[in-house]
Subunit: 301 residues, 2 copies
Amino acid sequence: MYLELRHFRALRAIQQAGGLARAAEILNTTQSALSHQVAGLEDQVGMELFVRRSKPMRLSAAGTRMLRVAERILPEIAALEEEFRALQSGKTGRLHIAIQCHACFDWLFPVLEMFRHAWPEVDVDIRAGLAFDSFPALLREEVDLVISSNPEPLPGITFNPLFDYAPTFVASSKNPLAAKAVIEAEDFRDQVLITYPVGRDKLDVFTELLTEARVEPRAQRAVELTAVILMLVGSDRGVAVLPDWVIRDVKSNADYVTRPLGPGVISKRLYAATREEDAARPFMAHFLRLGRSEPVKLQRD
Amino acid sequence: MYLELRHFRALRAIQQAGGLARAAEILNTTQSALSHQVAGLEDQVGMELFVRRSKPMRLSAAGTRMLRVAERILPEIAALEEEFRALQSGKTGRLHIAIQCHACFDWLFPVLEMFRHAWPEVDVDIRAGLAFDSFPALLREEVDLVISSNPEPLPGITFNPLFDYAPTFVASSKNPLAAKAVIEAEDFRDQVLITYPVGRDKLDVFTELLTEARVEPRAQRAVELTAVILMLVGSDRGVAVLPDWVIRDVKSNADYVTRPLGPGVISKRLYAATREEDAARPFMAHFLRLGRSEPVKLQRD
DNA sequence: GAAAATTATGAATTGGATTCACCTTCGCGC
DNA sequence: GCGCGAAGGTGAATCCAATTCATAATTTTC
């Protein structure tokens, strides 16, 4: 048995039109074509789908059953086609975001919230858990955008700059380092360093400071959640280096001190990596615009 | 855009097999055919459904969307095909019953209950409300079986006899007619006759007695439900003629009297009308067998 | 009962899908 | 980095199946 959509479409049209001739018009074909088609279909399924005793032919019991299926599938396919059309015209699409930086949730959520309202048709999602090979995943279309601060020139991928931030030292106000105005690599030697549970090549403290200075902290502790990191820091169980936008919550809190890293000014740039062909798509461009401006506004508040 | 099931099947196979070559085997075709097919499909929808950067090609975002539809639709169609196969082998089917006689509910329900267990795959239903033109409806396959006691020779329709019954007079024991052993046409002249709300040609009292004798009852009152008819009769608001199997509930009740109609013995036969080609189908034959034997057993209890 | 409407049929045609043979590209191991 | 094997793409030829055209066989309607 080899059913095709053509058969379902014919069935539905004949039912709707109440006859072959009129159905043929709906389907932009001839009465004869439909007659042959129905004959072929009935041959396939091995039974009569229509009752021909009376002249405008009507569905038989089996035909009615098949019509029910037609009326379930055909709209579904029409919806898919519609979706494809919208996809072409750029009104809809998918925005699955991979984040390499844990702390990015902080500004990403508000941005996504704004985006969601502007592009309700776009399927939005955040995918953690593939921080390691997120660029291959981008090329494989498993995700559509990667938030990263480590651009590597890759064919087919565009790195769209978002905004700059300063990795900032944060410690308990009881910590001896609170006395220093600027924190340098050597200062970490006696400290427990609390970081996100990712490779050192993804941690600003290391890439920007410790690795080059060949300084190893007394201990390193990996913690998933930003709030927990801050909690531990607050009770002087360790120190951390976090993007400045995360720090703003504790800046005015007397339990914490925040200090710039030094000696030179350390600043990093955050990028949104997309597939080359996607960067120009309307909703993607809009997201990038939001991602450039909104975090800065948030920062000011 | 002109999607076909072929496209959905190909998409799913490629996804399942993880590549064109292996998918081609599943679908019993060649790798080239699939390649052309995918190309054609992508041309149709106007975008890439697969990512070709890596070698075993993978679904793109749009392709994933289409796959979701495929995985909803294809099983549905497989189920339909399976249903058709079962239909051919006679294990399943439809048994929508039209009843011309209101009182038939009484024995039909128990029979259907038995049938339902023997043929769980058969779609059973009772359709009231088309008592008038139920034979045309039978030919149009709107229903599959008509319970009737008025067989008319019709091309394409078989009348399968079920069982005989006697239209029986029932009245309140306070009614003067309770004194008579047999009720004749003339006796109805002074009575209010309670009947089902159908044409006189479908009412046994008229077809078997009054019409021929040209007797008109004092009044006629139409009531839907058998229970209500009996209630009215019980309070002597009228008399009725009902099939004997309905009467058995009140036979032992002192408020009622039941009497045969006369002068001759009046007996009618109930038929199950089916389409000629259906009468031999296994489940239909089974239903007819039940319809012949079960009501008689019920009657004995 | 004739006209109109509806479906069926068969041969011819068309057009799209498949095949075949070959090419290109990619991944992987040495 | 070289080469081989696997995977996918291409183009022309072929084939098959769906459509068309013309016409017949119905049934319905007035």
